[in-house]
Structures are given as C-alpha cells and as structure tokens.
C-alpha cells in the first residue's frame, strides 16, 4: 500500500542507513542470509558437491548420504546442489523483475511528479489499471506469448510491479517539488535535470531502496509460483520447480518439500526485514518527536498516581493546580512540556491562560481533562477539582467527569467534528450517555441548544454533516456540545483563533453569556491579549512550561510585573490598544 514514508534530506543518508542496519541484530542476520544466498548463487559451480543434472538411480527420492547431503529428488539428482544452482536462476529472475519495475516506475514517477499535468493523468490511469490485474493470471495468459523463458516473464512482471514505484516516487516528488530549497534552486537558475539529480533523487533514494527490498521478495515468490505450476524451463533447476517435483512425490519423500520452501522463505524474509530496519531508521531520523511505539496506547489510561492529599480548598475555589509537571515520552527520554505550574480558579471566574505557542498552556488544559496526547502523562503535581484529586484518577473515573462536570471547546472547529456522523447525532449521543436521557429528550435539548448558540436554522444544522456548515457555525455547534450537559468548568482552547475576525467577537460574547447562564467557571486559553481584556477576570501568563505571572486583569494591564509580560503586551500594542493599558513607568521586580 501507499505507506508514504516522509523523508528529510539529511546530510549523508547512505552512511546512516548502513549504520542502522549494522546496529540492529535483525539487520545483521538478514544481511548475512542474503550474503550467503548471493554467494551460493554466484559460486554454485565451484562449491556444489554434484552437477545439478547428475542422476543416480539409487538415489531417486533417496535419503541423505555422504554425497547427497539433503537426499535425492524423484529423478535421482542431488537436492543440495540443485538448491545452489536454483538460487542463481531465482535471484537473477527477481533481479530482472525489480530492475524493470524500478527503472520504469521511478522514471515515470519522476516525470509525473515533477512536471505533472497530462502525463501524470495518463500514467496514473495506466498504473491503476495495472494494479487492478491479478498478476499471476496475466503472466499465465501471456505464457505462450512469452515462451518458457522465465526472464521474459519476469520482465513482464516487472512492468506489473512498476505502479508501486510509480506511486511512491510521484508522491515523494510532489511532496518536495514545492519545498523552499527546490524553489530556491529553480530561482537560482538550475535546470530541471540538475534539480532532479541534485535535490529530488536524494529525497527519494531511501524509500526506493526499501521498496526494492520488498518487491524483490514479491518477485521471488511469484516466480517460484510460476515454476511450481510448471511454467518454467524444466531443464534448469529452480526453487519453484524443485517444489513442484517434491509436491508430486509428497507421499514418498515428504521432507523434500522443506528445502526449497525454506530457501525461498529465508531469502524473502531477509529482504523484508532489511526493508523494515531501513524504514524504522528513516522514521526515526525524520521525526524527532514521539516514537511510533508511544503512539499505540491511545485509549489506555496514561496517568500516574501522584495525587497528594493537599490542604482543603477554600469553598469558592473550584480548581487548584499545584506544581503540575507534564512530560512526553520520547526516544531521548521524558521531555517536560509543563514544568511546575500552579493555578487557582474561583467559582464563576474566567481565567485567561496566555502565552506563545509551545508555552505549555494547551498541555495544562489537556491534563485537567485527562486528555493528553498519547505518550504524555502527568509526572507530578496535583490537580484538585471541587475537592477531588484528578491526577490519580483512572480512565473510568475521569470518564464520569468529562462532559458532565468538565467541558472542552477546541480551537479548530472543522477538525473537531466527526466527519462521518451528522451533527445532531454528535450532540445527542453524549447527552444520552452522560445524562441518561431518552433519544427524544436529547433531540429536543440539542435543537434548543443549537438555537441558543445562534444557528439560524437549527433543524438544518441538526441534520447536516460537518462539511456542510461553515467554520463559524461549526464552532457554535461545538460550544453547544460543550455546554449540553451543564458542566461546572469549561475549558476553551483558543476558541476564536481559527475564525474570521467578524465572527470572533460574536463567539466570545456567546461564551460570556453562556458562562452566566450555566453558572460555569471558565479557563480561556489564548495568545491574544484582546481576548483576555474582553473576557477574563484573571490572567496567568505562561512561558516555557511555567507561569511567569498571574494577576487580575486590571492590574496585569496597568502594572505588569514580569519582563516577559511586558514584552507580550508591547507586541500586542502594535496591533490594537487594550483599553486600560498604561505604559509601565516603574520597572517592577520580575516574579
């Protein structure tokens, strides 16, 4: 399939790849097997104990002896020697198929990907047509046309394998064609041929090598299959032909089917494993972040018990975070993204969480919901919500809180609605689960909510799929969903960033109204001080995983304490003027 591997043009890929193979036990084993197989193929005439055509009548289906190490076949010929000679024919056949496939597929893929247009369309159609054909049957159909030369058949098979290379190359080239460094090369006047040779071939090299390894395996299996069916040259020993002979005598000499099969399987497995080692290496070198391994545990709970019994909260504090540390597992160990955050939120209050991207504000928000991305976990610290410690809770207990008591409004409306389900269903389902109400009741509530958040035609929106409504409407739907189960704490993560400027103010107003209506406390994650000035009672400024300053809105705008806050406010000033802002006259002590 089109497991398109993203590639980064690293300094010296071939050297890194070699090191990756030699550092992996599987890579070493696979390389060794291949070296042995290739040597056997090349050296067969010198190392084989017998001539492959040598017949000993006493050894027909005979057991192993001093000269016939693996016994004899039905014609009294030495199985071991024939295995060695068969390696020649089989590997050469695979080489022909892979050679044709690579040259044809990569060339056409380069042209289609780099120049596109008509050629891309035609080549894409041909490639799809070729992939729609069962290859073995096509080879059988053309058997009489091609004659019993297995190399000609393998060349045709190479054509049928070319679409794999075509697609891979085309997609990779399309990916890098508009990269800045390719643009730069084009602007600086390099010819297309030079650009392809210097920049693009470098990127596609490793994925092509992986594809070659896999396709070689396919070619060996198919070729053996043809020979097993009797469509090979009976005079030359091949692994498939030997299996055919063994199959015919399966009741007489059952062990004979083992050796050719083992030879095929070992060779193909080595090729695949080598390809896998290279792919793992590529993925590791291109994505510095979370490893593939860490991604798997998505639905499993990924929280550790860190809850310390803190002092009882004042009754008007709904949420108290102290010394929260959040980390992600990476290949290089635990990477902390939140480094000891402490926050307090009073009932009915709106707290702004402000900072640049990467400051840890969203991760702090997600850890309250228990919805950190896979690989992430709360390392230490405490999140006390209405008297309940959240950090130690298991998934089931967290699940009971979400929707009913904790709610979430995301940043990007379109990607946060399930594209496969109608909007109505996405509102009704959580209400039925969380509130335990009937379908009809949930439907009534959903329609009322859609009207409440300002959708002109609630019925139409209820029956629409997400791609049928605008981004602003989608965000209103998400807000309706967030408040649908009457939560106590609403966490809104940059709720207006992805929206048109004209819609932003309306959505903020809606959030403010709903907060009063539903008696919620709100955490508003944003990077925009205008939003803070508009909607928040208190603000915490975050930078590099820490809260550098927390204050109520008025004092933060009038008298920012931390240099970083001042800088952020200063950069905001260039665009808009927050109402109560007075330039700082005294430099305070940084918090």
């Amino acid at each position: 399939m089109s497991t398109s591997v993203s590639a980064s043009p690293s300094a010296n890929p071939s050297k890194g790849a070699l090191r990756a193979v030699l550092h992996s036990p599987l890579g070493v084993a696979a390389s060794l097997v291949l070296v042995v197989m290739v040597s056997a193929a090349i050296l067969a005439p010198f190392i084989a104990p017998n001539n492959p055509g040598n017949v000993r009548l006493d050894m027909m289906n005979g057991a192993a002896d001093a000269s016939y190490w693996l016994g004899g076949d039905s014609g009294g010929r030495d199985i071991f020697s024939r295995l060695l000679f068969a390696a020649r024919n089989t590997l050469l056949g695979a080489l022909v198929a892979v050679g044709v496939a690579t040259i044809l597929g990569v060339t056409t893929g380069l042209i289609a990907g780099y120049f596109g247009r008509t050629f891309d369309f035609v080549a894409g159609w041909v490639s799809d047509a070729l992939m729609a054909l069962p290859s073995l049957i096509v080879l059988l159909a053309f058997f009489k046309v091609l004659g019993s030369s297995v190399y000609l058949s393998m060349a045709v098979f190479g054509v049928m394998l070319a679409p794999g290379f075509f697609r891979l190359t085309r997609n990779l080239v399309m990916g890098v064609r508009n990269e800045l460094y390719v643009d730069a090369a084009r602007v600086s006047g390099l010819s297309d041929a030079r650009i392809i040779a210097r920049h693009i071939l470098l990127v596609i090299r490793a994925p092509i090598v992986i594809q070659i390894a896999i396709v070689s395996g396919v070619a060996i299996v198919i070729q053996s299959g043809l020979e097993f069916l009797g469509l090979g040259d009976p005079r030359t020993p091949t692994w498939g032909g030997m299996l055919q002979d063994a199959f015919a005598n399966i009741y007489v000499a059952p062990t004979s089917i083992l050796w050719p099969g083992l030879a095929i399987s070992l060779t193909v497995a080595s090729l695949v494993l080598l390809g896998n080692v290279l792919r793992d290496w590529m993925q590791k070198s291109s994505s510095g972040g979370h490893g593939a391994r860490a991604r798997a545990r998505k639905l499993a709970a990924n929280r550790v018990v860190t809850g310390q019994s803190a002092a009882p909260l004042p009754a008007d504090t709904i949420l108290s975070i102290s010394d929260l540390v959040v980390g992600y597992e990476t290949a290089a160990g635990l990477k902390e993204v939140v480094k000891g955050v402490s926050l307090d939120l009073k009932r009915g209050e709106t707290l702004g969480l402000v900072g640049e991207s990467g400051s840890g504000k969203t991760q702090t928000a997600f850890s309250i919901l228990g919805l950190l991305s896979s690989g992430g976990r709360v390392v230490s610290g405490s999140i006390l919500f209405d008297g309940q410690e959240l950090t130690g809770l298991d998934e089931a207990a967290m699940h009971k809180l979400r929707g009913k008591r904790l709610a979430y409004v995301p940043q990007e409306p379109m990607s946060n609605l399930d594209p496969a389900f109608r909007i109505g269903f996405q509102l009704v389902e959580p209400m039925r689960t969380v509130l335990g109400i009937s379908e009809a009741e949930a439907r009534k509530r959903a329609l009322a909510l859609l009207a409440r958040v300002g959708l002109p035609d609630p019925m139409r929106a209820f029956n629409a799929y997400p791609h049928e409504i605008s981004g602003g409407m989608a965000q209103r739907v998400l807000i309706a969903g967030a408040v649908s189960c009457d939560p106590d704490l609403l966490i809104a993560d940059e709720p207006t960033t992805a929206l048109d400027v004209t819609v932003q103010a309306e959505v903020l107003q809606l959030l403010r109204d709903l907060k009063e209506e539903f008696h919620m406390s709100v955490i508003l994650v944003t990077h925009n001080f205008g939003v803070v000035a508009d909607s928040c009672d208190r603000v915490a400024v975050m930078r590099d995983g820490r809260v550098v300053e927390a204050a109520d809105v008025n004092s933060l705008f009038t008298n920012p304490q931390h240099e970083y806050t001042k800088m952020l406010l200063g950069s905001t000033l260039e665009n808009s003027t927050p109402p109560a802002y007075v330039p700082p006259s005294l430099t305070g002590v940084p918090a």
């Binding site: 399939m1 049957i137 046309v145 063994a246």
Partner: protein
Amino acid sequence: MLGFLLRRLGAAAILVFVLTSLTFVLVFSSAQNAARNILGESASQEQVDALNRELGLDQPLFVQYTTWLGKAVTGNLGKSWTSNEQVASAIANRLPVTLSMVITAITVMTIISVLLGVAAAVYGGWLDRLIQFISVLGFSLPNFWIALILVLTFAVSLRWFPATGYVPLTRSLYGWAGSLALPVAALVVGGIASAAQQVRGAVIDVLEQDYIRTLRARGVSPASILFRHALRNATPPALTVLSLQFIALLSGAVIIERVFAIPGMGSLTVDASLSGDTPVIMGIVIVLVLLVSLVNLLIDLANAWVNPKVRLK
C-alpha cells in the same frame, strides 16, 4: 448519487475495453500457428490450412478482433480449441468454485484482520510485535508452500481434512467447508497480518484526530469511540486494502487450486495456458477484469455510504 454511480460504471467499462483489447492483440498475434500445434507435426498442410480457416486465424488480426468483440458483448466467448467446450459454459462451471473459495477467504481475512488490527491499535505492546512478526512470516512464506505443509500435516499425517477435491456447497455444507478449510487457510495466512497492520494504522490515525479528543471530552463512552466513531472513519482505507487483497487472492487461488486439485478458474487458467488455448485465456481475462471492476465498484459504493463527503462529489 446516480451521477457518481454512472461515472464509476463508465470508468469501469473503459478499463474493461482497453485491457481486453490489449490482451487480445497480444495473445492472438502469437497464436498464428495454433493450428499446427493442435494438429501436431504429422498433419498435412491442407489440414492445417483448413483448421486455420475454421478458427478464423487466416483473417487479419483486426478482423479477428472485431468478430471476437461482436460475439463477446453478446456473451458468446467462442469455443475452446482443445476440448470443443463453449468457453462461456466452461467458465460458468468453474467460476462459482473459485468465487466460493475467494469470498470465504476474504471474509475470514476481514474478520480476523479487523479484530487483530483494532486490538493492536488499542493495546499495542506484544500484540503489535506479534502482528509484525506474523506479517513478515506471511509475506515470506509462499502460499503454495504453506498449502503443502498444511496438506502434509493435516491431510497426510493427521487425516483431519481431505487432501484434494472440492464438494459443492449445494451438495453438502459440511463437505464443502471441509474441502475448503485447508485451501482457505493457505490463502489467507499471507494477507491477514498485512491487512491487520493496515487496519491498525488506519485506526491509530483516526484515534489521533482532534474530533476523537473532543468526543472523549464530551463523555462519549470508550466503546462507542472505538467501535462507532474510530471504526467508521477507518473504514475507507481498510476497504482499499481489502480490495487489493481480493485481487491478490485471485492470483493466489490459481496456485492453491492446483495443490488441492480444486476444479476452479485457477486450474482452467493453468491448463489453457500450458496448452495455448487462446479463446479460453481471453474468456478468463475478460471475466476477471469484469470481476475486479465489479469489486472496485462495490468498494466505491461502500466508501460513499460510509463517508458522506464522497457522496457529494
């Protein structure tokens, strides 16, 4: 929806036409001394000429093609050169056998690979590694070799299943299942793990989408998130994988039928190919291309049903 269906049908018709025409030119251009091959070296030149006339091989290739095409669209695929049987009826006798095997195989493969793939996506760990291991194994072991080992173990040594032969479903359900158990097992081993890996990847991709986080934040149950939302969104890529697996199974069936002496399309293909029975080969190619087009059409329709966005385009 109707426009979508018509466009797909049109594309499939073009594909069938191009591929069969190409095949015709290739196989018939090389079949010009078929009469000599059929009659043998001892036949006189007159006999050979007469047979050539009878088979229409004395005509120019283009005339042969239009004649063949004119008959083919009415379902008349001509007569076999070796058995005198009508090609259409030969195929009609064999196709149900192969289809019952391949459909059973793809069903078994779908169920197991979806279960394994989803489990691996959710639990990861050793299950993940097991699937990767089986996938390398399934890829490396040729299916006909697996078939031989299965025959050796379960038919020759243990005698649990018949080694060869086919019992039609219409005669005995039990006999049919018994005769297909080993062939289907040999067919699916190679594909299951790789299909499971694709399903796993698709499910993981969906589980990392933003809307899954939002659904979880709303309190939707984990079971519903996995089996309703994630599975539905992972269906289109999984369907594509299964359609490719179906094509691979058709190829695999050819060899497997040989091992188990099953009288299906595979044995028909091999016999026609070895004896140079060109009309039969043409018939097989046209039926298979139609079959693959039909399957792809069904997959497209299933995709449109699952994915509301596709429906509008």
